[in-house]
């Protein structure tokens, strides 16, 4: 486990969050208990294709929106 010193501050769905350094977006989703196939990730206002969550790194200050489908009219 990286120490807190090596952690990064990111924003996920509007809330600040501390995550370990060197994390991929796929790793972030795992940390959050989410299945990549059931959510859509917007990374710094750009939609991240599902096929790229494994190869895309998380950086200090990144802003994520993680969305899914809910009931609506």
């Amino acid at each position: 486990m990286p120490s807190m010193m090596e952690g990064m501050r990111v924003t996920v769905n509007g809330a600040a969050r501390e995550v370990p350094a060197g994390l991929s977006v796929a790793g972030l989703l795992r940390e959050l208990g989410l299945q990549p196939g059931l959510v859509v990730v917007e990374h710094n206002r750009e939609i991240l294709e599902r096929s790229r969550v494994g190869e895309t790194g998380v950086h200090d200050g990144d802003v994520f929106e993680i969305v899914h489908f809910v009931g609506g009219g």
Binding site: A15, I66, V67, F69, G71
Partner: protein, 260 residues
């Protein structure tokens, strides 16, 4: 006599049911699933929202609806600018189900009436990006024509404000929109009960999209069934061509052959 109706065709996809239903406001998911089943709808709308990270057990609607059985139409509900609507539409498409979107840009919080200028602006952007745009709009004929010109796959005038249940307030303009447009016209929002749905279909429109009328009924499943029948009844009444309205009575039994 063949009493079958032709299928509803939108953007190269065809549907047997002319009823499209929303998935919002149900008291629980099993109720929603049973209501959709009873409605006979083959297309349902869904919204794009943040995953709730604090309640990790919360499930998205995909846990309850099988996209292989039912066509999911992502909406841009809750958006007040063209930019936001485009953003939500792109997120919906990135879910990987299809490239359709129910475009909705709201212009007023109290009435939830559409911002038609922003809707048109967003429609142009989305059509250029290859989306199949089904655009929610008011019952204004000129806006409906502009949305069709912009390349929308369907134009969806309201019956009355979203969630109001006031029924079809402007049958004349809805009929005019249907007459003037070549793309499918789906009435979206405002239907409150089965007679509203029937009356709406009697105007000749191609279908109806509704949510609250079913979800907020005391028995959603039964109301969904009623709506299914009402949409079919209204459709067949339209196709059959109603009798003229007369200001005077005309007897149904022969006036000849009466006794002295």
């Amino acid at each position: 006599m063949n009493l079958q109706d032709e299928r509803l065709e939108i953007a190269g996809r065809s549907f047997r049911s002319r009823l499209i239903v929303g998935t919002g406001k149900y008291r629980d998911n099993p109720t929603m699933v049973r209501a959709i089943e009873a409605s006979g709808a083959e297309m349902v709308t869904v919204a794009v929202r943040r995953v709730d990270l604090d309640r990790t057990k919360e499930e998205g609607v995909l846990f309850h609806l099988d996209p292989a059985r039912i066509f999911l139409l992502p909406n841009t509900a809750g958006c007040y600018t063209a930019e936001d609507a485009v953003r939500y539409a792109r997120l919906g498409r990135a879910a990987g189900l299809n490239d359709w979107v129910k475009l909705e840009v709201i212009g007023d919080q109290r009435t939830l009436l559409p911002d038609v200028i922003a809707t048109l602006e967003a429609a142009k952007v989305l059509v250029a990006e290859g989306f199949r745009v089904l655009a929610y709009t008011n019952e204004d004929v000129v806006t409906a024509l502009r949305l069709e010109d912009a390349g929308c796959a369907a134009v969806m005038p309201l019956a009355s404000p979203i969630g109001s249940g006031l029924g079809l307030v402007n049958p004349y303009f809805v009929r005019e929109i249907k007459t003037r447009l070549s793309c499918p016209v789906i009435v979206d929002a405002g239907v409150g009960t089965a007679s509203d749905a029937c009356l709406t279909m009697e105007q000749g429109v191609d279908g109806i999209l509704m949510n609250t009328a079913i979800a907020e009924a005391r028995q959603p499943e039964r109301m969904a069934h009623a709506m299914r029948l009402a949409v079919e009844a209204g459709r067949h009444a339209f196709l059959s061509g109603r009798m003229p309205r007369r200001e005077v009575a005309v007897p149904s039994s022969p006036s000849a052959g009466m006794l002295d």
